[in-house]
Subunit: 308 residues, 2 copies
């Protein structure tokens, strides 16, 4: 069973959508990535930090999903990272109302000894120097390093971001971020420029419009599943990344053909995430449901035309 | 060889994009639909109207593409429909600067005798009463009637639009129009509601985000080809429709499986249309280029995953 190490936030979210609002609920990039990756046959560990206010029951829930939590530092006299946001009516845009870094402000990641030989490494959205710190703690380079980031770091830590991007294999960002990072509007051109910055693979996430995988002049597209209702988009991008790297780790195959399957699985997992608030849907998800939805993805995309 | 009758505008366009601007050039829904459909083995005729200012050379160009132009009425003392528009920087939105209906204002379509037995009928975007008039001139119902329309008719002639929609098989509209017509934000729900209005098939065009085909609880997705550069989106939706119905007519097969192929061909044709101003690219397009691009569409979308 392949080893997958995930670094990222484990957090509290408070979410308002047109369909309702939540209290403080479990969130964070590493949480969504981990829950998604745990649907595949992988040995997963999370490196993160939480405060003394973080419920033991949530730690146990992650453990019950087979996730190693020894890398989640608990700062007893600190508070867990907190994000509060409100989605607009179309669910495509959101306003951040509160960001309390709390224990995340002084986060020094520490990779547990038994994960320093990880096969796959997923650097969730965090300050690029934290992402770099984790890379440096792994003496033998993993088979594949995937990095997720966001526009905030392009605005505030671009040099550090470029340094870490130069060291990874796959970057996952959304369309606007790809345009910002590359300075090109065309996503085809943007992906070419970003590949020259280091990552040989570029995954551009377009939310309800699916995701594009670029590599060496080739491109593959995974649509989002058209849903009757999107309830809460929070965590969908991380869940996509978790499905992507979870599938790659479980198959131990980083060929382009297998990466195509991986983005389909990423989109598959994300389609569940948005059906309920926060991690609710991902916690109860079964492998049988994933297989049924895979059938839907095939019906959605596969056709037969003979080339003349 | 199947017969395909197209009704729609044959017009002059004046276009400005971030890449440049044109003089008055050939445009119009029926022009783009016809040029696109002419790439398939079909017997195509156009019903439309132009003024005395319309160049004989453009009529001849259509004829050289194998398009029957006897249904294009020439009002010698009138002027051809004229549209002038300017695209914004992202090419996703445009402002209409001029719309001169001219001869279109009094357009009474007349289906040529030798097309009153058409197998396939494409009602391009026009006033719904004109579309209805054409339906009534065809005594034996065609095998398939496809209708394209736009938000303007939903705002100004909704009742007439609903009457004609009740009589057709396939409607092609964009995502915002589907939402307006149905009153539902979710495209899945919108398509269900529109199917209850009459058309058993709903094609929702999402521009650079591809197109969705809905029918009886099933859904298929044709992505747009990711392009290095989109030069001029004018006519892309009509070119899509022309590829869709051209392929269906040439294969004489209206099964859902074949409609999947038809939307792929629609997207294929549209990907060429946007590469140059107006009809420029479509006029020079070869069937070999279409086959090469079909290969790209396969690489973009096809994957192999065994269901468990």
């Amino acid at each position: 069973m392949g080893k997958l190490l995930i670094v990222g936030t484990v957090a509290f979210d408070e979410i308002e959508t047109p369909f309702g609002k939540t209290d403080k609920i479990l969130g964070g990039a590493a949480t969504f990535i981990g829950l998604s990756a745990s649907q595949f046959n992988v040995e997963t560990g999370i490196v993160s930090v939480v405060g003394g206010d973080f419920p033991q029951s949530d730690i146990e829930m992650l453990q019950n999903k087979g996730i190693d939590t020894t890398g989640i530092e608990i700062v007893e006299d600190g508070k867990t990272f907190f994000w509060k946001g409100k989605y607009r009516n179309d669910l495509n845009s959101r306003d951040t109302l509160v960001t309390d870094l709390n224990v995340l402000a002084d986060f020094k990641p520490l990779v547990p000894k038994h994960f320093t030989d990880t096969d796959f490494l997923m650097l969730g959205n965090l300050h690029p120097t934290v992402q770099m710190d984790v890379i440096k703690q792994i003496p033998v380079r993993p088979k594949l390093v995937v990095l997720d980031t966001m526009n905030f770091w392009m605005d505030h830590a671009l040099n550090e971001l470029k340094e870490v991007i130069a060291k990874i294999d796959v970057i996952t960002i959304n369309d606007e971020e790809a345009r910002q990072l590359s300075g090109e509007y065309s996503l085809v051109k943007a992906a070419e420029i970003i590949q020259k910055m280091g990552p040989k693979y570029v995954v551009i996430k377009k939310g309800e419009h699916g995701a594009l995988l670029f590599h060496d002049g080739k491109v593959f597209f995974a649509p989002a599943l058209p849903l009757e209702e999107v309830f809460d988009p929070t965590g969908a991008g991380d869940t996509f990344a978790g499905g992507f790297i979870g599938y790659l780790t479980s198959t131990n195959d980083i060929s382009f053909e297998n990466m195509k399957r991986a983005v389909i699985f990423g989109s598959n997992m994300a389609s569940f995430c948005v059906e309920k608030f926060g991690t609710e849907r991902m916690k109860e998800l079964t492998r049988q449901e994933i297989q049924l939805r895979l059938r839907q993805f095939k019906e959605l995309t596969q056709f037969e035309i003979e080339l003349a």
